[in-house]
Symmetry: C2
Subunit: 195 residues, 2 copies
Amino acid sequence: MNTLQGQIQFINELEKLKAVKRRNLTLDNKRPENSAEHSWHLAMMVPILAPYSRTEIDQLKVINMLLVHDLGEIYAGDSWLYNESDKEEISQNELKAFKRLIECLPVDQQSELLDLFEEFETQETEEAKFAKAIDAIQPLLNHLHISHENENPDDIQASMVWKKKTFVKDYAPDLWQLVEETIDKSVQKGLYKRD
Amino acid sequence: MNTLQGQIQFINELEKLKAVKRRNLTLDNKRPENSAEHSWHLAMMVPILAPYSRTEIDQLKVINMLLVHDLGEIYAGDSWLYNESDKEEISQNELKAFKRLIECLPVDQQSELLDLFEEFETQETEEAKFAKAIDAIQPLLNHLHISHENENPDDIQASMVWKKKTFVKDYAPDLWQLVEETIDKSVQKGLYKRD
């Protein structure tokens, strides 16, 4: 297989992310959002919300990180935010899946993608932290915007959401009020139980 | 409405691109691909295929251009590549729709997005040309990869496809052989009529 053939194999394999279903819904027939369109939405949010990052950030890196951050799901599947068991195992499986997916690429491109994936996972750089804040905010906004009133099939409590999203206060302080208000409005809409 | 409220309104409005259906299909149940996941796929292809661009390109610009290039469809709908009538009207409608969509953003962000949209439309820069080549190649690869054998409901002839894709020879010469081979394989699979 030559270099380009491997790259085309990778591009074809990416089709599978369009079939990975998330818990969030979409406007058309309230079907489950898939991880490919979710990743597009996150990337679109970067230039719009970048003025709220606490330092100057490399937007290309943030966008590329968000475009690839769910690729491990192609073989490992999506995992639900509120599933507390096996977090470490899920993370290991996604890393393994990611490595398997990029195997057909030239070595330098494998390294670039793996670096992005690991930078997002280890959460040490400003870019990774801002990317993680964006990844936490989009599902909140989507949920408030799209879900029907009083739709809370998993009996989510507001405190569970607070706990999961509270890191935004540190990672992107200028967006924390937005997170607070979105959770409050979602409680008022009956999407999370007040506790 | 304050600045952030307008930006959140924009982010919520983006949900609608996930409901704009294209002619291409996806792997899961062969449903129509939507323009949001299509845009993600294009953006993902940029770092992978950038080594084949004829000059050094600004990847952030190409990616941002591809992320936003279909946003006009949110109000104007997707238009089919082989629909030869009203090309100018479609283009005007998409520009109008795009401007309407970004109205709720701060003025500097409106300008940034409009510049990207118009740079893609006017096709004068290397970034715009490479983006257009990517946008032409992804549906070809998707079609060959996903469609069933002999699935050609619109009676597409190979010469129609050649005519639409031939600009890749100039815009990204190193990817032209890929286009030729993909069209050939698609003819062999019965997706286009040989003529």
